[in-house]
Symmetry: C2
Subunit: 129 residues, 2 copies
DNA sequence: ACTTGACTTCGAGTGCGCTCGAACTGGAAG
DNA sequence: CTTCCAGTTCGAGCGCACTCGAAGTCAAGT
């Protein structure tokens, strides 16, 4: 039982790799207030804890579902204000879930258009190729 | 049976409204080669035919599924080259369909994360609210 | 001791997809 | 006949989300 496996802390490069963002983006997220001030070591280098990494991971999911950085910032601010904002955070997620579901419904519609087109091309190829 | 119902032609504003884009965007699409040169009336105004509008509609679906304008341009170029490019166009759509399916799978994953979070907030609210 | 390479901050630059302002024109309504 | 509105072209500008370059620091490896 190595103490380092219990008290993990990662450099910006390691954290970036783990969450699939670049070091540039991680620093920028911090600057933009999407992440609270990350701890530094004695020489001023960022040290990411496991909970920092979990938070970053959540941010990547929000981003990937199309949440604007502006809204992620708002969410981060709520989170920084503790338990009194739990309801607001849930509301934010529920609203976002609705948007994601709507987006998925759109994509399914659009997929149909794509498939129709593919079929039409197939038929046209048979006829003239 | 009015002849105007058979030979429809729309102004840029009407076409924009019908496909859900702005007039700016319609002109820009033309300029960018996403749409072949649209016909003009005697005083130089654009007149969109039904097939122009159908084409534009298809473009909106490609856009909405995340196809970059660059790729839409490539597709438009293929379409302008006639039946010899049917296979290429089908391939382009099939590749795009794969990306859309992958995107939908991602969204479903991300949706799970969202629902977990919502549940967690609900539980936390019960406990401390 | 020196080199290497990942880190620091800062401000500037990039790519995408529009979006708009300016200056002008031309058809239709009152 | 005038007023109005929607259209024209052109180039410039914008918002978003990064992405990068410059100049410097620091710790570890050879």
């Amino acid at each position: 039982m190595d103490i380092s496996t219990r008290e993990m802390s990662l450099t910006v490069g390691e954290a970036a790799e783990r969450v699939g963002l670049t070091t540039y983006t991680l620093r920028w997220y911090e600057q933009e207030g999407l992440v609270g001030r990350v701890g530094r070591d004695s020489s001023g280098r960022r040290r990411y804890t496991e909970s920092d990494v979990n938070w970053l991971f959540l941010l990547t999911r929000l981003r990937r579902t199309g949440m604007p950085v502006r809204d992620m910032r708002r969410y981060a601010e709520l989170a920084r204000h503790g338990d009194s904002t739990l309801g607001a955070r849930r509301a934010l997620f529920e609203a976002h879930r609705a948007r994601v579901l709507a987006r998925m419904a759109e994509l399914e519609e659009d997929l149909k258009v794509l498939e129709h087109k593919i079929d039409a091309y197939r038929r046209a190829e048979e006829e003239s190729g």
